[in-house]
Symmetry: C2
Amino acid sequence: MLTFTNILQRIENEVKAFKLDYQPQNLYTPIEYILSLGGKRIRPAFVLIANNIYNDTIDDAIPAALSLEVFHNFTLLHDDLMDEADMRRNKPTVHKLWNANSAILSGDAMLIVAYQLISQSRPEHLKKLLDLFTQTALEICGGQQYDMEFELRTDVEEDEYIEMIRLKTAVLLACGLKMGAIIGGASKEDANHLYEYGLNIGLAFQLKDDLLDVYGNPATFGKNIGGDILSNKKTFLLISALKHASERQKKVLYNWFETKTFTSSEKIDSFRSIYDELKIKDMTEVKIHHLYNIALSHLTQLNVPEERLTVLKEVSNDLLYRES
Amino acid sequence: MLTFTNILQRIENEVKAFKLDYQPQNLYTPIEYILSLGGKRIRPAFVLIANNIYNDTIDDAIPAALSLEVFHNFTLLHDDLMDEADMRRNKPTVHKLWNANSAILSGDAMLIVAYQLISQSRPEHLKKLLDLFTQTALEICGGQQYDMEFELRTDVEEDEYIEMIRLKTAVLLACGLKMGAIIGGASKEDANHLYEYGLNIGLAFQLKDDLLDVYGNPATFGKNIGGDILSNKKTFLLISALKHASERQKKVLYNWFETKTFTSSEKIDSFRSIYDELKIKDMTEVKIHHLYNIALSHLTQLNVPEERLTVLKEVSNDLLYRES
C-alpha cells in the first residue's frame, strides 16, 4: 500500500505532467495558472486513497483523481469571480490577473476538461462515474447558490447551513472516495459507506475551516484570521452564537452587521469575545467530533481488512485536527 | 421517415416536457427561462435528422438532441454576459433579468445538465458521443476566445475569421449530425461525411448571418439590421471590404471605427454603400454557394439511398437561402 506522501507526490507529478496543448493559448493559460497554485489536493488524494484500499496499483484512478482537482479549481475560479475575491492562495485570482471574461470562459473550458478526464476512465465504470460526477457537480452549483443567497440573510438556521456546506463542500469529498472505490471494484455497499464517510468528514472539515478563521494560528493559517467575521459570513460559529446569544450580545452582533466603517481588529475582537462567552469554540469542536464519529462508524462497516484503512484514517484525522 | 415539421414538433414537445425539478429553484429558473425563448432549434434538429437517415424511430437520439440544445443555450447565456448583450430573441438576457452571478452559475449548471443528457444515451455509444461532445465544446470555447480577441483588432484576415466561425458555430452543427449518425448505427465513413457536411453548412450559415445583418429584411430579421456594423464587428463582409477597398474607402471605414458618437443610420448607410461599390454581397453569396457545394459533395459519398436525404437537403437549403 502507498503512504499519504507517495500519493501526494503522485498527484503533484500528474498535475505537472498534465499539459493542455490546445489553441488558443489565452484560453488555457489561466487554467494552467490556477492548477499551479497548489492547495491541499485533498480531493484527488481521496480518489486515490479509496482506490488503494481495494487495489495495489492506482493507475486506473488517475484520470478521475485529476478530474476532481480540475473541477474543484474550476469552482474556485468561478466562485472567486462571483465573490469578487482578489486573492487565492496568496496569489491574484484569475479575474484580477486577466479579466472577468477570461475567468468565465477559461472556467467553462475547465469544467469541460474535467468531464474529458472522467471519460478516460475504464469503459466498464464510465456510466457510474459520470452519473455520480454530474449529480455532485449540480449539487455543488446548488451549494454556491445557497451560499450567495445566505449572504443577504441574517436568519440562516443551523440546518440550512449544514445543508449548504453539504452541497458546497462535503459531496465532492464523498464523490472522490466513492469514485476511487468504484474504480477499485468495491461492492456497492462499500462504495456507499465510503461516500457517507466522506460526507461527514467533509462537513467536519468545513466546520474546522470556520473554526480556524477565528481561532487559527495566524502564522500557519493560509488566509487572514477573521476574514469570515469581517464579511459577516454566516458560519457555523456565527449561527451558533446568534442562536445562544443574550439580547445584549445579539445587539452587539447586529450592530456590527450594519456598521460599514470600522477597525478590523476591533470587530474581530468583539466577535471573538462573544464567541468565548458563549463557548462557541467548544460547541464547534463537539460538533466536529460528533461528525467524525458518524464518519468512523461507516468505516467499521466496510468489508476490508482494517489495515487497508490506515492512510484514510490518518489523513482524515490530520484534516480535522489541523492548525492551518 | 419524418418530415422537418414532425421533427421540430417533437423537439418543442421534448423541450417543454424537460423539467429540472431540482433545488435550489433560483439556480434552475434562469435555465428554464432561456430554454423557453425558442430559437431555430437547428442543432437538436440536425441530431434527429441525421438519426432518421439511418433509423425510422428517433427515440434513442432524443437525449443527445436535447443536450445540444441545452449546451447551445448555455453558450448564449455566457456569451451574452461576456458581450454585455441586453437582449436575446427580443427578451432581456439572463444577466439583465437576474444578475451576472446568476448568469455565471446557472450557465455552469446548464453545461453540467448537457453532459447529464449525453450520458443518458445508450451505453454502446456513450464513449464516442462523450469524446465528440467534449472536443466540440472545447472548440466552441476556443471560438469565443478568438471572437473576443478579434474585437480588439482591425487586421483580422479572412482565414482567421473562417477558423473562428468554424470553432464558434460550425463544429456544433457538424457534431449534431455526427451524433445522430453514430446513434443511428451509421458507418464511421458516413458519420465523418455528415460531420464534414455540417461543418461546411455551418460556415455558410454564419456567412448568411453576416449577410442578413446588412441586407436582411428588417420586417423578418430577428435582430436590428446593421448591429454588426454599429459595433465594428469583423464579419466576413467587413473583412472582405477592407481587403478590396481603395485607399479612400479604407479611410472612410477606419474613420468610422474611431468615431464614438454618430447617427446609426448614417454609419450603416456609409458601410453599405462601400459594400455595394465593392460588390461584397455577390462575393459573400459566391462563398456561400461554394461552401454549400463542398457540403453537398459529402452527401453524395454517403452509403444510403438518396431519398433518405430529402429532409436534410431541404433544411440546409432553407437555412442558406433564408431571409431571417
